[in-house]
Subunit: 237 residues, 2 copies
């Protein structure tokens, strides 16, 4: 089966309704009505049920049925009841800790490798990477490891911006990511500005949405990609 | 012996010379000439030697002698040659990983608990905490654990700001720290805006520099402290 991924930078652009910008892309990605398993584990200051309600509210307008993983038993074979997986944003460390603690990493990975469509945003895109080392989140909990679902062989930086807080000395995002490539010299980082995404269909990876996707690699000049451009080569690195 | 700490939010305010704002406070803290062991492990995009040169350049103007830990063997008893420890900023995950990898956590902790003055800035202040869970840094390397030097019983957030990047959806610092307190309900977080510090002399903890120190705790309203105010109660929590 072909691997199918929709990895969104963020759920919501400032000032817009929840999950509104990605709706046409999610609609196109999911196609006919699906039974979606939603994983709200990245949420910290929102209850799982409130998170589920917000996401299900949007997905049902597309005809999909959503179940929160907190509402069911995750016994052997539980994924057979679903035909798509969605992981929402929040704190990536919390998300990794709970997925690892519930022994879900391998289960989810296998299902997606075997063709179950996966979509996620923010932390849900970071966790699709080999590790969570390019998250922007604060490490408020210590996961068992930094390993992610490893659905792609490169790293994503969601919410990418080159803007900084005026008159503040903290590192820019660009500097942080350049430092990442210095200590992880074999790894590419694809930066997704808000309102953009990567979509994988089998071997074909495409950048979409708005803005530009900047790709960092150690000792290489960053390269910019426009919406619609093919990035399939990233799957072979 | 009295424990002595100077924990600075940052090395340098925007537009100023390197380590300039904290110089009077470091001068007052260190007093007569000291042999300082400087640990540059948080540096990623700067070589240890360049980092050492920048720091030593400032410290020698105060009459102190500086040695970089990368210049010596860290055999048993090596700390006896020094009478102060300094840890500089950079990436807190990298710093924790190298301190843990070189088995320095307990050695440094014991020396400071036995009265050797410690000063640090940014990552060097984060690593003084029980854990590195309130760092602002990107987790570009995976340390063995999130444990810090545990020189104080509360957490520091350096470079604290309530400013956000305009028209960008990432979490504010305040929201990140509130989420920290939700999953670490017993732990206080003292936020240090740039240009400020905490100084410990035995049992007496004081906030200094500019701005205000905001203290977060789960289910409590944040409390603000002005420069000169006593925060010794934080050492008993």
């Amino acid at each position: 089966m072909n691997k199918r991924l929709l990895l969104l930078s963020n759920s919501t652009n400032p000032g817009e309704a929840y999950l509104s910008w990605p709706m046409p892309y999610i609609k196109d990605f999911l196609g006919k009505p699906k039974k979606i398993l939603f994983i709200p584990y990245a949420g910290v200051s929102i209850s799982y049920e409130d998170y589920f309600t917000a996401v299900a509210g949007q997905m049902t307008t597309l005809g999909h049925e959503v179940t929160g993983i907190h509402q069911i038993e995750t016994d052997v074979g539980f994924l057979n009841k679903f035909d798509a997986i969605a992981i929402g944003g929040g704190n990536t460390f919390r998300l990794a800790d709970l997925l690892q603690g519930h022994h879900l990493i391998e289960t989810l990975r296998e299902a997606v490798e075997n063709g179950m469509p996966y979509f996620g945003w923010s932390a849900g895109s970071n966790i699709a990477c080999p590790t969570i080392k390019t998250t922007n989140d604060m490490p408020i909990v210590e996961p068992r490891s930094f390993n992610g679902l490893n659905l792609i062989p490169f790293q994503i930086n969601p919410h990418y911006t080159e803007a900084t807080i005026p008159n503040h000395g903290g590192e820019s995002r660009e500097m942080r990511l350049k430092e990442f490539t210095m200590v992880n010299q074999d790894t590419h980082v694809a930066c997704l500005p808000e309102g953009s995404f990567l979509r994988l269909e089998g071997q074909v990876l495409t950048f979409g949405g708005g803005g530009e996707c900047k790709v960092f690699k150690h000792k290489k000049s960053p390269v910019l990609y426009a919406p619609g451009e093919d990035l399939s080569w990233l799957m072979r690195h």
